[in-house]
């Protein structure tokens, strides 16, 4: 059986950044295993710009952002495989992968899972009606258009005003489709404001807030949809349905991590994110298996994926190179008021006094919020932040000596009027 120090599963933005970081932190024996025919992951089909402003101080398109990281990977001669699917990983840090050359098993000292996320489909949000051809996730329609050069339809309706939906509204219009409208179930869009302007307003595409698609109509091919108004709890208001003729319905209704590999290996799952439970080293409940990127929790911007993955690459290197200090204290992290989830789930402290990073999302829009870390109702750390919304991940770090000898902390956000 072949031995490789660090196996990274996934050659998209998270995989690339963690590979580069692990290398720069001393691990040279790395293998990145990518199932597609090229590195870059989803960036390859995100041909629009908006990436890199934070990390690279330059506004780049998806392929350009990928190009930068692929170059950095190649500069370091980091090995990678394409068209190769990892079939299994286990708690002994063995990785089984397959490609047209055969099936191989590798023994690693650490594994980083950077599998990315899935798009929610119409079945998962239970849209009733027929099951014709013509309903696609926005990402699939994007792939067909940007990679293969085909529009899946010419009269398009979009459900969900997240960025993917908005970007596709513009893209399809530029290539000759008629985008009839966008429905958003909330009373506000969770896409970036700039995208409302440059994707909807620029093309006079209407945005219907507090509406949803309540029925799909069409026997073999999509004939149209019904949209209905919803109330403040996102429930459909009866008798508000109206028919909209269209040949394509695009869904931009959420992304979520999906990690059969981790689940089957025995890594405990985080039921709030659908990713794995992790500690402050981004290590799962199985020692040596790390996870990062959208496969851990969905990020707002690829820059933040890279930032996080740089940290994870370093943490994996520390494990491999035996640079970890002993754990002197361990605590659990709970999400409480107004926090829909927080990472990490557990914190293992050493006498290093290094910083502990927290990542969380607020449950609802809050104008002025006090983010608090409490232990037994006593505030250990807090700060105030304005204009909190679920679509903007909150990140902060604290000194670990604030957490020594605690067994449990609660993270909550107090709404300040």
């Amino acid at each position: 059986m072949e031995n490789v120090s660090l196996v990274i599963i996934g050659g998209g933005s998270a995989g690339l950044a963690s590979a580069i970081s692990a290398y720069d932190n001393g691990v040279k024996d790395i293998l990145v295993i990518e199932r597609s025919h090229e590195l870059g992951g989803i960036l390859n089909q995100c041909i629009h710009s908006g990436f890199g402003l934070s990390l690279l101080k330059e506004e780049l398109t998806g392929p350009e952002y990928a190009h930068h990281f692929i170059n950095e990977l190649k500069k370091r001669n980091i090995k990678y495989l394409l068209d190769s699917l990892v079939l299994e990983i286990n708690k002994n840090l063995e990785v089984v992968y397959s490609n047209s050359f055969g099936v191989n098993k590798i023994k690693a000292k650490a594994i980083i899972c950077a599998l990315g996320c899935n798009e929610r489909t119409f079945s998962q949000i239970f849209i009733p009606g027929d099951r014709p051809k013509g309903v696609y996730t926005a990402g699939l329609a994007q792939k067909y258009l940007n990679i293969d050069g085909y529009l899946v339809g010419k009269n398009v309706y979009i459900l969900g005003s997240g960025d993917i939906g908005l970007i596709m509204a513009r893209r399809m219009t530029l290539e000759g489709a008629n985008v009839i409208g966008v429905s958003e179930i909330m009373p506000y869009s969770n896409g970036l404001n700039r995208n409302i302007v440059q994707c909807l307003n620029d093309f006079n595409i209407p945005l219907y807030l507090k509406t949803t698609v309540s029925k799909i109509v069409g026997n073999k091919v999509l004939e149209g949809i019904e949209i209905s108004d919803v109330d403040d709890k996102q429930n459909i208001i009866l008798n508000t349905n109206r028919f909209i003729k269209c040949d394509t319905l695009l869904l931009s209704v959420g992304l979520y991590p999906f990690n059969t590999l981790l689940n089957k290996a025995g890594c405990k799952k985080n039921s709030l994110t659908n990713g794995a439970l992790i500690d402050n080293n981004f290590e799962t409940t199985i020692e040596g298996i790390f996870t990062t990127g959208n496969g851990l929790h969905v990020h707002d911007l690829v820059d933040f994926v890279s930032e996080e993955s740089f940290i994870v690459g370093k943490k994996a290197a520390e494990l491999i190179l035996n640079l970890r200090n002993d754990v002197i204290s361990e605590l659990n992290v709970n999400n409480k008021d107004n926090v829909s989830y927080v990472l990490p789930n557990t914190i293992k402290l050493t006498n290093n006094n290094e910083e502990v990073y927290f990542y969380l999302r607020v449950r609802k829009k809050i104008n002025k919020g006090k983010i608090k870390i409490l232990n037994n109702n006593k505030i250990i750390y807090s700060f105030i932040k304005m204009y909190l919304e679920p679509s903007e991940m909150i990140k902060f770090k604290i000194e670990s000596n604030l957490l020594i000898n605690l067994k449990e902390i609660d993270v909550e956000i107090e709404e300040i009027k």
């Binding site: 490609n99 047209s100 050359f101 899935n118 998962q124 239970f126 009606g129 699939l140 339809g153 073999k220």
Partner: protein, 476 residues
């Protein structure tokens, strides 16, 4: 118009038409199957509970009872011959109180009359068999001679075998008119085909009475009933081990919780009046299924649902199968309203009807009949996968990550007789696109492989029926 002359024409390539064709291919016969859709098994045969019932449930002395009991016993052999993933899991019917116990006992008695052995078990044994049952369950009726099967592979396997044994199949050939000319039947299809045949078999499912009416006044009326299902991802290989039924009521077998041969779980069906082509799902349906299934299993993770779908069953007003040669029109065989337990009965029906036809036409044995299809390239361990890759490297190139389907497997399936030419056809037989991501990652590659292997332009690859091509408009 060129007319083609056949001994037998079978209308419908669902499980019944496929079964009749396959058993008919034991004889030397010129036989054509006419299928309305662009693939076989597209209607009820592609949207059902996938359960091979043991046969205790149908009313005694009905055709349902007769063919269910014989048919269920034929699945072991068909599994060996056609590789249909049949697993004899047994089934459990669950009771919660004394009234239910009385019902279960009467079902047991009914089973005995039908020739099926079942046993009544108590709470302890129930939980040994199914640890995830709702704590309130008290009694169970256990039927050993029942199981689950892959209905898509059943239909495609029967068809492939029939075609290998010289039966013909024409897809996209909806029958629009039938004339009786002396002792021949002249069949007209939508794609301008005209065929003449001595024996005509109506296996058209929910269009059974409509097809019959071209020839004679139907003695029955199809009363279509829709069944909605919710399908879940594989979240646990041993969540439940066999189909679980609620104690039946007058309306039918009730909602069941079951697993498929690929370890997906599902709940369903509802039982609603429907129109012939209404396969829509409804919010009321989802809510009903979620509520009812909680009675059996109280921790089904609704958020792991990956698909809802409906099937329409061709129930009829006499509540039994129609399997007979018309006494008014010789040579016209009506095999209609094969409602539940249709799947379980299908092999017995196919064998029986083919024997009737053999008798009617005095057919000779086909010396070259081979009941086996080429086994599917599968792997249940890495050694087997390595062997496959040695035969063809494309067995190592995975296309569908969710369901572990490789390019070699897709190519193998496309080139079988009666093989898929559509995205949905690949989905049904190989599960590529059936899993968690519902094709968002693999559908593009499936389209490319179909285009290449079938030598058709990429924008002509259909999702299902003709005219459902996915890549509609070239952007430049």
């Amino acid at each position: 118009m060129k007319k083609e002359l056949y001994d037998v024409i079978i209308i419908g390539a669902g499980v019944i038409g496929a079964s009749i064709a396959r058993f008919l291919s034991r004889f030397n016969v010129k036989c054509l199957i006419l299928e309305k859709h662009n693939d076989v098994g597209e209607e009820a045969s592609g949207a059902n509970s996938a359960i091979v019932h043991s046969g205790y449930d149908p009313k005694p002395n009905t055709l349902k009872a007769k063919f269910n009991v014989i048919g269920a016993k034929m699945f072991d052999k068909i599994n060996d011959e056609l590789d249909v993933n049949y697993i004899k899991t047994g089934t459990l019917t669950i009771g919660f109180n004394n009234d239910d116990l009385i019902t279960l006992k009467s079902l047991k008695e009914r089973g005995e009359i039908n020739g099926v052995e079942t046993s009544i078990i108590g709470k302890d044994e129930l939980f040994k068999l199914e640890p995830n049952l709702n704590k309130n369950v008290l009694y169970g009726l256990y039927a050993k001679e029942a199981g689950i099967v892959n209905p898509f592979l059943l239909v495609s396997g029967l068809i492939e075998n029939a075609l290998e044994n010289n039966i013909d199949l024409k897809l996209n050939s909806e029958v629009i008119k039938i004339e009786k000319i002396m002792d021949f039947y002249r069949v007209f299809t939508k794609d301008k085909g005209i065929y003449e045949t001595k024996v005509l078999v109506n296996a058209s499912g929910r269009n059974g009475d409509y097809i019959t009416s071209f020839i004679e006044k139907p003695k029955f009326k199809i009363t279509p009933r829709k069944g909605q299902y919710i399908l879940f991802d594989h979240f646990d290989d041993h969540f439940i081990n066999r189909p679980l039924f609620m104690c039946p009521t007058k309306m039918g077998k009730g909602v069941l919780v079951s697993k498929t041969t690929s370890n997906n779980y599902y709940i369903g069906p509802t039982n609603e009046a429907s129109s012939l082509d209404d396969v829509s799902t409804t919010k009321e349906g989802f809510d009903y299924l979620k509520k009812e299934s909680l009675k059996l299993i109280n921790n089904l993770p609704i958020k792991d649902a990956i698909r809802e779908f409906s099937g329409v069953r061709a129930n009829n007003n006499i509540d039994d199968f129609i399997i007979e040669e018309s006494n008014l029109n010789e040579g016209f065989f009506n095999v209609s309203s094969i409602m539940s337990p249709g799947l379980a009965s299908s092999l017995a029906i196919g064998e029986y009807v083919s024997n009737l036809i053999q008798n009617r036409l005095n057919l000779k044995i086909n010396e070259n009949y081979n009941p086996y299809i080429r086994k599917y390239p599968k792997f249940n361990n890495y050694e087997k996968l390595k062997d496959l890759i040695n035969i063809n490297p494309l067995y190592g190139k995975f296309i569908c990550r969710c369901e572990k389907v490789s390019e070699g497997m897709i190519i193998d399936m496309i080139h079988r007789k009666g093989g898929p030419t559509t995205v949905k056809g690949i989905k049904k037989r190989l599960r590529a696109g059936f899993g968690r991501c519902q094709g968002t990652f693999c559908q593009e590659e499936v389209i490319k492989i179909l285009s290449r292997e079938l030598n058709i332009p990429i924008d002509e690859v259909n999702y299902s029926d003709l005219g459902t091509n996915i890549l509609k408009y070239r952007s430049k």
